[in-house]
Symmetry: C2
Subunit: 329 residues, 2 copies
Amino acid sequence: MARTTMEDVAKAAGVSRALVSLAYRNASGVSESTRARILSTGNQIGYVHNRIAASLASTKPASIGVFLQDLHNDFFADVYDGIREIAEPKARQLVLSVGSRNHDRDASSLGTLEGAQVGTIIAAGLRMADSDALAHSQRTPLIAIARHIPGVDSVYSDNVFGGQLATEHLLQLGHRRIVFLANPPTDGYLGRREGYETSMLEAGLKPRVIESTYARSDAAEIATELLADTEAPTAIFAHNDQAALGVLDALAARSLVPGQDVSVIGYDNSSVSNTPGTALTSIDLHALELGREATRLALRRFENPDLEPQLVTSTPSLVLRATTGPVST
Amino acid sequence: MARTTMEDVAKAAGVSRALVSLAYRNASGVSESTRARILSTGNQIGYVHNRIAASLASTKPASIGVFLQDLHNDFFADVYDGIREIAEPKARQLVLSVGSRNHDRDASSLGTLEGAQVGTIIAAGLRMADSDALAHSQRTPLIAIARHIPGVDSVYSDNVFGGQLATEHLLQLGHRRIVFLANPPTDGYLGRREGYETSMLEAGLKPRVIESTYARSDAAEIATELLADTEAPTAIFAHNDQAALGVLDALAARSLVPGQDVSVIGYDNSSVSNTPGTALTSIDLHALELGREATRLALRRFENPDLEPQLVTSTPSLVLRATTGPVST
DNA sequence: TTGTACGCGTTATCAT
DNA sequence: ATGATAACGCGTACAA
């Protein structure tokens, strides 16, 4: 039951192996008629183009590696859609790698992609120090999504602005005691917090930042404590939608109505935020567009590896839903 | 800037290429001390194990292909977690392929995996005819998740039972006009519908099946029409959670309260169903466990390719939340 | 532990 | 323009 090889196809079609290779790659140098004949005989005998061998033999890498932090977060699914939309027409193979709970594994995920000999890596949601990412990018060009890493191609969504956007929305609603539920500071996504702090200070208020994780349950726990406080906030700004859901869990447990008793705003505008029951006010990063831009960048880098590090910036926007409302008196 | 190869490592460490190969595979035949020395020198000069070349040279395939229908559906993320949990300790490389909107591309997704020379394909949410799937499995062993394909290894969740579970729950709440919002019948997931019909007939009621798609918006549209009907249902059973969300959208648009005015039940128990605001009653397929079982099966098939087609069946369970309630009088 | 044939396409280089 | 021939890429497997 040996696999059929290109040699088999060549024999069956009465041509050379080289010609079969050209035919399968839509390369020039084969007449349309013979190409068709080759492909059809290939089908007859059940040949499938062996990408592994092709990749090994080829001098230039043809595939793009994609790192996604978490499949449970819809944001990354959107990013992936954007990537695919651009990469597919260019016949670029995508090689996926998914992050795991513990950050330290991010490096090994990138290693997996390197081992697959990808030409470029698009990374969405990388949680490693800037310096580590930079070091990695020396080996295989890296494109960071939603984060700006100096010296590395970045498709950045202006997190500082987004943080301000969220905070000022709450301020306009009359909130004063606004807490920011932050992600672990080691991850590098500090813009949102910075934007929050800026807006608070400008309004003459004291920022109150509490660090949490990406786990919904952790956010719920922290929010529960917060709400029991004598100085309980009237509004909570969570670093992402997942965490915001945790806050909503905590509110539900105390029979508090989001948007009335306490305002909650998330970040990502993931699909969960858009369910009628939840209706979470959030900041939209335009994930699809981020994915597209990153891929365009990747393709450009294939053409010209010596391009200096690029920075594409996109501006997030506020998506108003039901979990934010005027401060209750 | 040529990539460093195994040869380079061998020279630097003063050993043969063969030995370096063994070291990088954790294979026996290298003393612990030299293995450590080899790996460390490999690191020094920036070598990464070239999986492409390894795969080409190796006689037996080492990787498992994973097909996931849709990254936007949390169910598949759970399945993936289960797969990874089992595959990783066995050092099996996972190669991912994601389905696209139009089903006809499913075949090409499997083709991509075949091209990557995977030894087995675990497919979650495949939407192709049984016969096509069977044909594919002749070439590369296939393991179907959440679906039973005769002649193909299947980790099946008893959809018929699940359909009955959902329907009988609604019946017990006093509902009589229960509509089943079905997926496209060409996809092969017919058990849920069958279970629904069985339970309805047993209760002496006439089943009412309306076909929809996987798109939330389509479900919303259909539900809107349904609710305007003179014979409007008091309960809607959707073939999956995504569709159920669409139904909730439609209810929200008419200011109807799910669980009070109209009961809604989904299927999958995906994370969206578990938000406090949404609180969708659903059927849990135990996605994580399905992923685990499929992977165990895959590993067994690596050992023994001539195993006759296996069928593992798992039993879904009802997860009660807020969107179902007694029929309103 | 080592030497080396081998796996399967690709990419020059040549011939028609 | 079309097509053929042969060297090459980078590990793995097996005999020595």
